[in-house]
């Protein structure tokens, strides 16, 4: 979940660069040029000293990060690779404890042929198939509405729709699970008052319950992104469309949406990267006793169970690395697509 929240800032920063730099450059350069040129004629010992001190400072700034980076990221990945090559075998009658035996790629084939692991990916795919159209469609529609000339109180709506993102995922899950619980839930009371009935935990409803929970958390967040992209659509283009007789709806769907297509595609891919790591929501639904959400429902739940319940570290490590590979492939795709768009649009 770290990735999707982080992405927009990066591109923001990229955008900022030229305007921030351009004005600063011209006047200051003239000042800086004179002293910079003088030492060039005679490569004084001062220049070498400066370079040495800069190298020292660079090292001072960079080394702590890389030490921690090695400890926290490189070492665990290396350790997972190592662990994934071994299996525990209990010898003889099980006395004398288990023994670690080199097993090559067995853990990987075990993971890939494990029904639980495979169906966890099927669950995620099904979840994405339902969640992405609802969430992206919803945030796009809301962004177009807020962007339209007819909307009032735009600031209020942006804040109100963004608010769920300020709620930690665990607390959001708890709140909605209570809103799904008969006796506690006003939502069920309203449905009852309208003469209907609904069981949020029933097998064929529970996926929709989870989609609702996640859409609640992310729709407003993505709406703000789309809205910002819409704000950047040149007004002349829209005015030209209106002059040509296109109505507001046509302008929105034929002009505005295509112009922010890259933001939409990036958001979809980042949503997928987040979705393959989903843990909190199914964990809580499972804890609440939703029968269709089993303890291996998502890949991270599977890894959790393999590692911390079954203590099969080799299998858990192999499954982790397989999931990491999928995550890296998706992130790579996102970066590549992002770069291509940047090249195409700039």
């Amino acid at each position: 979940m770290a990735l999707p929240s982080a992405r927009p800032a990066s591109r923001q920063a990229m955008r900022r660069r030229p305007p921030a730099k351009a004005p600063a450059k011209a006047p200051v350069k003239a000042l800086a040029k004179a002293p910079a040129k003088a030492p060039a004629q005679a490569p004084a010992p001062g220049a070498a000293r400066l370079r040495r001190s800069q190298r020292r400072t660079a090292a001072l700034f960079i080394v702590p990060f890389f030490v921690l980076f090695t400890v926290v990221m490189v070492a665990p990945i290396g350790y997972a690779l190592w662990m994934s090559l071994f299996q525990e075998q209990s010898s003889g009658l099980g006395f004398g404890g288990a023994q670690r035996v080199f097993s090559g790629l067995d853990n990987y084939t075990d993971a890939l042929s494990d029904d639980g692991f495979r169906s966890s990916f099927a669950h995620i795919a099904l979840y994405c198939a339902l969640y992405i159209p609802v969430m992206i469609g919803g945030s796009l529609a809301l962004a177009l509405l807020v962007d339209s000339a007819l909307a009032r109180a735009k600031r209020f709506f942006q804040l109100a729709l963004f608010l769920p993102h300020a709620i930690p995922g665990l607390i959001a899950s708890i709140i909605w699970i209570y809103l799904y619980t008969p006796g506690l839930s006003p939502v069920l009371d309203w449905i009852g008052a309208l003469g209907g009935s609904w069981d949020f935990y029933r097998d064929d409803h529970v996926l929709a319950s989870m989609v609702n929970l996640c859409a609640w958390q992310w729709t407003g967040y993505n709406m703000v992104i789309f809205y910002a992209a819409l704000q950047a659509v040149p007004r002349e283009v829209i005015e030209a469309a209106v002059v040509d007789g296109a109505g507001a709806l046509r302008t929105a769907l034929r002009i505005k949406v295509p112009m922010i297509a890259s933001a939409v595609v990036m958001t979809v891919l980042f949503t997928c990267v987040g979705a393959i790591q989903i843990f909190t929501e199914p964990k809580l639904l499972n804890q609440r006793g939703a029968p269709a959400i089993d303890t291996e429902w998502s890949p991270t739940l599977f890894i959790w169970k393999a590692g911390f319940v079954r203590h099969d570290y080799g299998l858990a490590a192999a499954a982790s690395l397989l999931l990491a590979a999928l995550g890296i492939a998706l992130s790579y795709l996102v970066t590549r697509l992002g770069n291509r768009w940047k090249a195409a649009t700039s």
Binding site: R11, I62, F65, A324
Partner: protein, 308 residues
């Protein structure tokens, strides 16, 4: 959910809109109806109701005692017990909640501040200094961005248990210090906010490199610092999986994990409901306040990001 179906209505109209001929006039009227100010603002109000309702329900529920929680409907008041509930949350089990809250603040505020400073220093060094193998090293950082952190949690746990730091503050603080994406951002911010010419001028004036960073560059990087801090703060405050894996000792829990544990016994002991509800409210209010106050940063972070 109703919001979302409402929200997508205009899209479903597109088919009719595209069809030429006799549908033309029908399209006009339906589009006209759809896009009146009343309908547009009505849909937005419904969406705002959807996003605000659960949080408002939490506020109502936190004012009720256990009996009223089940006996009264969600959006009406029972006996007003907010202060009693607050007192119960804050004193329950030797004030363990306060301890959790303090832990969350420690993990998030201290961890993110330290991590952001590391990121800014590293990104700045990548931008402003030349050294051998620079771009290769930066490639390693970018590789780190791609790795989903939840996925390496298990090997991290096993290594941490070998190092003996499982069940200590370090188990959550140490991983929170490393934020490759923050380094990437910091480099970009440094390129944008800190003109090289200013540094050269200060060097001519005889400023040392460390002084240059602390006195000149860091203040210029302040908005970037805030943006990176905010993103890593949100990530640590939300970090539930890491805490679940790394901590057994409930005196080290962050609020998240504490509420999860309380929530897991509600079905056997329903009196825990009001603890979870009031505890959630107490955990959420400072975050909402922070987000409203720091709007400028998350908004600029998100907004400009989407622009192209």
């Amino acid at each position: 959910m109703s919001t979302l179906t409402h929200g997508t209505t205009p899209t479903s109209q597109s088919d009719t809109a595209a069809r030429p001929g006799p549908a033309e006039s029908r399209r006009r009227t339906s589009a006209h109806l759809l896009l009146s100010p009343g309908v547009v603002n009505g849909i937005l109000l419904v969406a705002a109701f959807y996003t605000l309702m659960p949080v408002s329900w939490l506020l109502f529920a936190a004012t009720k005692n256990h009996r009223d929680l089940f006996a009264t409907s969600g959006f009406s008041f029972g006996d007003f017990n907010l202060f009693a509930n607050l007192q119960r949350v804050l004193t329950f089990n030797d004030s363990i909640y306060l301890r959790w809250f303090g832990n969350s603040v420690l993990y998030s505020v201290v961890g993110s501040a330290a991590s952001t400073l590391l990121c800014v220093a590293t990104g700045y060094a990548f931008d402003k200094y030349a050294f051998r193998g620079k771009e290769k090293l930066f490639g390693v950082v970018l590789g780190g961005v791609l790795v989903p952190t939840t996925v390496i949690q298990l090997p991290m746990y096993l290594l941490a248990s070998k190092a003996g730091i499982v069940n200590t503050y370090w188990a959550l603080l140490l991983p929170a210090l490393v934020n490759p994406f923050g380094v990437y951002l910091a480099r970009v911010f440094s390129e944008g906010y800190v003109p090289n010419e200013v540094l050269e001028a200060a060097r001519v004036d005889g400023a040392g490199e460390l002084r240059l960073f602390a006195r000149i560059s860091l203040p210029m990087l302040a908005p970037g610092f805030m943006t990176i801090f905010l993103f890593s703060f949100t990530a640590s405050w939300n970090n539930f999986f890491g805490a679940l894996v790394m901590l057994n000792d409930d005196s080290l829990y962050p609020v998240n994990l504490g509420l999860f544990m309380w929530n897991s016994v509600t079905q056997q002991q329903p009196e825990y409901y009001s603890l979870v509800i009031t505890g959630s409210l107490v955990a959420v209010v400072p975050l909402i306040v922070a987000f409203v106050c720091l709007q400028r940063f998350w908004r600029s972070g998100l907004t400009a990001g989407a622009v192209k």
